[in-house]
């Protein structure tokens, strides 16, 4: 994402590049990586396939351009952990949902999730994301035995993502975030600090 503000008037042509990127984002989010074709993206944006290559290079390049998640999980979760374990379940879920419900971020996250499930890149989540990103963050919130509590928390949050955003089962997909916080938050809290066999 290059800086787009510069003085003087913008080029007369509409921002074709942005339209291509938006089309790519939507397609990757909906159909996954293998399911989207450069041709389909170009057609959706009303341009020629060659133009897509001209802007973004290879299909892989287009994919990473379409992700562009403007969120650092550790940064956004910092205030959640700073407030301590009390009510952490609700706070965690609230910030989590606020990110996922952001229409500017959602397509990128969806595309990411879709591609992670489709390929055998599950190892990336298992050995990368969970232990190095979310693990340490959550570990500071749990009472004990993080190695069993963190995965349980993760399982419920993964299920929420898949049910609400990927499958969009009603009424989960339409449910206001605060309702979900009230209903699922206590479960997360239980996994974090409750009595567990």
């Amino acid at each position: 994402m290059t800086a787009r503000a510069s003085r003087g008037r913008r080029p007369g042509a509409p921002d074709t590049r942005a339209e291509v990127l938006a089309a790519a984002r939507a397609s990757f989010a909906e159909k996954g990586f293998r399911g989207t074709t450069i041709r389909a993206v170009a057609s959706a944006a009303g341009v020629d396939p060659a133009l897509v290559h001209h802007y973004f290079g290879t299909k892989d390049d287009l994919f990473v351009a379409a992700l562009e998640i403007p969120v650092d999980p550790r940064e956004i979760l910092a205030p959640v952990v700073a407030a301590g374990p009390d009510g952490a379940g609700e706070r965690l879920l609230r910030t989590f949902l606020s990110v996922w419900d952001d229409p500017a971020i959602q397509p990128g996250l969806l595309a990411l999730v879709r591609s992670l499930m489709a390929d055998d890149s599950a190892g990336l989540v298992r050995d990368g994301f969970i232990p190095v990103v979310v693990g340490p963050v959550l570990a500071s919130l749990v009472r004990d035995r993080p190695e069993v509590r963190v995965p349980l928390v993760a399982s419920q949050m993964i299920g929420l993502i898949v049910a609400r955003y990927v499958i969009a089962v009603p009424p989960l997909a339409q449910m206001p975030a605060e309702d979900l916080v009230a209903r699922v938050g206590p479960v997360l809290q239980h996994y974090l600090t409750g009595d567990l066999p």
Copy 2:
């Protein structure tokens, strides 16, 4: 699966058909539908691509042959609902895990889940599987407001599938089924019959 027992000796050639099917199952489970190619399946089974077609017809046919889920969810869940709402969370989870942990069934289920997440066939789960299969079954177990309780139960079970079987996050993937029943069962019970805002 045709009956394989008949008197007299089996044909001298090893059961190539079964090997092809096994290779297909593994590939579909690991790489999803789009990710597996007939050629790769044939190569993994040590045979010619044309032979795969000869046995199974199109790639779609091969896929449904590789699924071959020998389980009717409604049938297997019948005893769970018959015993009533008390302790239903644990019972539900136990039968659920016993099916998923069955090595004869798991690859088919995994392939199914992978393909459902990859394509935009989410509608199939949302409008088909959940409301017509699992919905009615679970609805008879909940205390009230099935339209909010059933999706919550579904979200936790989906999360368990993805975390334990698709991503295989440790130690969730290695955890004995009974440990999971003891830890997650109460949450399901809470979603089924507990106090919910």
